[in-house]
């Protein structure tokens, strides 16, 4: 039989699949009926993973840039070239070198990337690429529960009684999680969605709270406020937890009438959600992390609301941070962060650091590093060299700053726009050309086995990094990915009970898996002795004021269309066509406005309008939709040339996550 089990490598859901391998080549994919997460389903991306895996748009040879153009060389030559160019930075490298990791790379590859940065190039400037919000969620979850990841389990969605989906359209970003929520709803679970646009997830819910753009965080705060003031809350435990008083008094400071007015949601709806959430036997919250996901402050409000409701650490409950990329959670688990080692162990902890020093037989710098994107954003003068792993976004952020660096190293399997920024390029083996484990959004560690030979004889990350380490006089002796995994397990308390043997014979195991949880841990349950505490909140809510000059609130929708600009989708056929289908109808991009506003502006479907803000303007087509309310507009972020330039001018807003809004004027042209 030609079907071999595998794991989908696109989003963080981690659906199981079967890849069809005939005579050493990939010839198809099929869904896995007995997989606990996907249960026979895949989304449009997952159903076409074979198209991506069979692409010939690969990096086929190591390349070095000489006088501005690439030259094919051997691995040996490329490594020598790189080490020679880097020699001036080697001593003082801590500040000069940065590493950008890949949230789609396996745990093993991410671990080695982190180890290469720290033990060979002596830098802690390590950042996971394509990601802006997941870390914020991990910080909050770790602070509130001591559990640095999604606390619930996808398998328990069908059992929970109340679900709140905040912001994102899970039916698009993580469709199989969206499906699971939909099926729970059909079977009687109450589903409430919060957001300023009526997404498909919202249409499939029992109640959609369509708040005005920029007031999502405020809406969550109001639900918490009502839960306390109306006495719906879990009085037995929540009020005795650390931080309760601070949180309660910050809520008390909110003027109810005013706040209700700015959210545009009725007090009755807020009240009924607060009441049902608190009264329900179990409840789960879902929010997307990463690009266009919830920011740390919003996540704090979500977590605190669920503490108030008494829905943390109980059966079939969960604070569920949903990752949009296959191994975003795993990337953090592997310590691809300036201040973390594996398993969320703090780099600043001397005992932890010396454990790694002993295992790696090196001296590690004592100082934590900086976020690489922050360094680029601040045009930091010390940063001179960048190592980049598989940058699969179509858009390269900080293009100018990267061009100004002295030297850029690129490791990747697929041809993409970032390659041109590099001075040396190393091709590496892709998914299913090497064994590797991936950790999905609910901490499920799954193995994806080697099924085909590497393209054009390229090396695996393990082989290449060992070669680079050896050049710098450090001996790495791994014979397989399994050897790397053993080392990870030995240094990471939450992974210590995992092994390739266990993973090959399972559909994944959720960490922590160790002596305390020998079979893994489905969800975080409170035990006697563990204490929950409230997260600190800002108590401030962004003012979203429209003016006469800019009477519309524009929502820049990035998450939903994120996959459009993803470089790997462009290497498929059907998903590429599907993501481009909108472009066929709206080649210039579109702005969604309500029919009422269209009437006022005297524009029709497909007419061109000019959108202006205080920073710039752009022309796009009108799409009339009842999914947005009057006075608000929505622009998807996916056409590089058109909309992106306008939105990049507003990159300050991206820190606001879900509450990002831009006041604009819309005019007929």
């Amino acid at each position: 039989m030609d079907y071999k089990s595998g794991v989908c490598n696109f989003c963080g859901t981690g659906c199981g699949n079967y890849l069809r391998i005939s005579d050493g080549k990939i010839t198809g994919v099929y869904s896995s009926r007995n997989h606990p997460v996907s249960k026979g389903r895949l989304c449009v991306r997952g159903w076409h993973i074979h198209e991506w895996l069979m692409t010939d748009q690969r990096i086929s040879s190591p390349m070095i840039k000489v006088d501005g153009s690439f030259k094919n060389v051997t691995y040996e030559e490329a490594v020598n070239f790189m080490m020679e160019k880097l020699s001036p930075y080697m001593g003082s490298s801590a500040k000069a070198i940065g590493f950008l990791g890949a949230p789609r790379w396996s745990n093993e590859n991410n671990y080695l990337f982190m180890k290469l940065a720290r033990s060979v190039f002596k830098t802690n400037n390590i950042t996971l690429d394509s990601e802006s919000g997941h870390r914020g969620s991990l910080n909050v979850l770790s602070k509130v529960t001591g559990f640095p990841a999604m606390t619930g389990s996808l398998e328990q969605i069908e059992k929970t009684k109340f679900i709140m989906v905040i912001g994102s359209d899970l039916t698009r970003i993580n469709p199989i999680i969206g499906s699971e929520i939909h099926k729970a709803q059909m079977a009687g679970t109450k589903v409430v969605t919060l957001g300023s646009r009526k997404t498909q997830m919202a249409k499939l819910s029992n109640l959609h709270l369509q708040c005005r753009p920029g007031t999502l965080k405020l809406t969550i705060a109001l639900i918490a406020k009502v839960a306390i003031e109306k006495g719906y809350m879990d009085k037995n435990s929540a009020s005795s937890m650390a931080g309760f008083n601070d949180f309660a008094s910050s809520l008390a400071a909110i003027n109810m009438a005013e706040a209700i007015g700015s959210t545009g949601i009725s007090l009755d709806d807020i009240d009924s959600v607060a009441k049902e959430l608190c009264g329900s036997e179990s409840a789960m919250a879902f929010w997307s992390t990463g690009i266009s996901g919830a920011d740390e402050d919003t996540v704090s409000y979500i977590a605190n609301l669920f503490l108030i409701a008494g829905k943390v650490g109980k059966e079939n409950c969960g604070l569920n941070s949903i990752t949009g990329l296959a191994n975003l959670q795993g990337g953090y688990d592997m310590g691809v962060a300036p201040d973390l080692l594996t398993g969320f162990q703090s780099y600043s902890d001397g005992a932890v650091r010396s454990k790694f020093e002993k295992a790696w037989q090196v001296q590690l710098p004592a100082e934590v590093g900086n976020d690489v994107y922050q360094l680029l954003e601040n045009k930091n003068k010390d940063l001179k060299v960048l190592f980049v792993a598989e940058h699969d976004e179509g858009i390269v952020k900080y293009e100018k700053e990267i061009a100004n660096l002295d030297f850029v190293v690129y490791f990747g399997s697929y041809d993409n726009p970032f390659v041109n920024h590099a001075d040396v390029v190393f091709p590496i083996a892709a998914l299913i050309e090497d064994d590797g484990t991936y950790t999905n959004t609910e901490r499920r560690v799954q193995i994806s086995q080697k099924r085909i030979q590497a393209f054009n004889g390229v090396l695996s990350v393990r082989e290449l990094f060992s070669m680079i380490a050896a050049k710098s006089g450090v001996k790495w002796s791994y014979n397989s990915s399994e050897d790397v995994f053993k080392e990870i397990a030995s240094l990471t308390p939450s992974y210590s009970g995992l092994s390739y043997d266990k993973l090959i014979n399972s559909t994944g195991i959720q960490w922590p898996c160790n002596s305390e949880y020998p079979n893994g841990c489905k969800s975080f349950l409170l035990k006697s002795g563990t204490a929950l505490s409230f997260a600190k909140v800002s108590g401030t809510f962004p003012a979203v004021n429209v003016s006469e000059a800019f009477p519309f609130l524009l929502i820049p929708g990035r998450g939903e269309y994120f996959w459009h600009q993803n470089n790997i989708m462009k290497k498929s056929y059907i998903p590429k066509r599907e993501y481009n289908a909108t472009l066929l109808v709206y080649p210039k991009g579109f702005i969604e406005i309500n029919s009422e506003d269209a009437k006022k502006l005297q524009v029709r479907e497909h007419w061109t309008v000019k959108i202006s803000s205080d920073k710039g303007s752009m022309n796009v087509s009108v799409k009339i939709s009842e999914d947005v309310k009057p006075g608000t507009a929505y622009v998807p972020y996916f056409i590089k040339e058109m909309i992106t330039d306008f939105l990049l001018g507003h990159s300050d807003k991206s820190d606001m996550g879900l509450d990002a809004t831009i006041p604009v004027r819309i005019e007929r042209v």
Binding site: S31, R41, E51, T582, L584
Partner: protein, 351 residues
């Protein structure tokens, strides 16, 4: 009619493996999922395995297939073109009646209309088909409602029915007869016809207790769909549940949408590929120019059900397009597999 002992039935597969590439139901050891796929050895096949998750459709209509290869020589301004046809001889062993009916529907689509699809014909031409009747249904089956099982009546070279310790072997073609003779199977006396009929009746009677996942009383609904008397909001209720994944099409033994793409190879040649496609996709139905239907998702969704359940479409296939396998039900991220849609429409009729 012939007989073969139950323990010897795989001899038929072994005999076929001598001259054919062999396909059959295989159980994956890891998860227990059943596939209908190529085997290296007949011992991999499990005749008693449940209805396979993937129908044998991919044997004649692969998920992705090279159909042509070309190379353009810029300097000489010449192109070399080579058609690629799969001329292997394939034997399908143990196909169930629903999937066999599916194959017949595909034949009518690819071979029975004005155009004959030669790529398909090439897959199909030398094929040997051994079907097996279902002496009991599985949870997801509703072939009794779609007139495609549980017993097969056409389209096979050999057809197997398990009757106690023996398989009853019926030959449906000269090729089939020839194989039976080669194997020297003994003939069955006429009483076996009666036994087979009883087994069929028994199987049908078991649907009520075993085939509990899906019930789809198709005929009333076909009428409704054909005449178009279905309320807009029913289609809307169905349409908003579609996640546009394409799965219902991919797993369906009778769906035949395809897409053609050129794949540029690393060595400078180009492969022309034919891939599975789906009517649920926006890009598949996208019309030229600015045409933007008002209810895009709903319109695409009801298209599928027209295709499966309307009289006009049935005329092409000489039967309904659905063969009652139940696969689209368990792969659908929404809750709109065909049997459920039939239920939603019936609910509206009774209301």
């Amino acid at each position: 009619m012939y007989l073969i002992e139950k323990e010897n039935v795989m001899k038929i597969a072994e005999e076929l493996a001598k001259n054919y590439e062999l396909f059959g139901p295989v159980v994956d050891k890891g998860t227990g999922q059943v596939f209908f796929d190529r085997v290296n050895d007949s011992s991999e096949i499990s005749l008693s395995a449940e209805i396979p998750a993937i129908p044998p459709k991919h044997v004649v209509f692969p998920q992705i297939e090279r159909i042509m290869k070309y190379k353009y020589d810029r300097s000489a301004k010449k192109a070399e073109i080579e058609a690629i046809l799969d001329n292997r001889s394939k034997a399908i062993f143990g196909i169930r009646p629903c999937d066999l009916t599916g194959l017949i529907v595909l034949d009518r689509f690819f071979l029975g209309q004005e155009f004959v699809d030669e790529i398909y014909r090439e897959h199909r031409k030398r094929m040997f088909i051994v079907s097996q009747n279902c002496i009991a249904p599985f949870k997801q089956c509703f072939c009794v409602c779609t007139d495609s099982g549980p017993f097969a009546d056409e389209g096979y070279d050999l057809n197997l029915t398990l009757l106690g310790d023996y398989y009853l072997v019926e030959a449906g073609s000269d090729k089939g007869k020839e194989l039976v003779q080669r194997l020297g199977l003994k003939s069955a006396d006429p009483s076996y016809a009666e036994m087979k009929k009883k087994a069929n009746d028994k199987s049908i009677s078991l649907f009520e207790s075993i085939a509990t996942d899906n019930k789809a009383w198709i005929s009333r609904v076909m009428n409704r769909i054909t005449t178009g008397f279905i309320k807009e909001d029913v289609w809307e209720y169905i349409g908003k549940q579609c996640f546009e994944c394409g799965a219902c099409t991919f797993v369906c033994p009778t769906c035949s949408c395809f897409n053609v793409e050129d794949h540029n190879r690393f060595d400078g040649t180009t492969d022309r590929l034919r891939t599975w496609d789906s009517c649920s996709f926006e890009g598949y139905t996208k019309m030229a120019g600015d045409h933007n239907p008002r209810h895009p998702v709903e319109d695409r969704r009801n298209k599928r059900f027209f295709c499966k359940l309307s009289y006009s479409q049935s005329k092409k296939y000489l039967r309904p397009g659905c063969v009652g396998c139940g696969r689209c039900q368990w792969v659908c991220p929404g809750d709109i597999g065909l049997p459920n849609v039939v239920t939603y429409i019936r609910r509206e009729i009774t209301e």
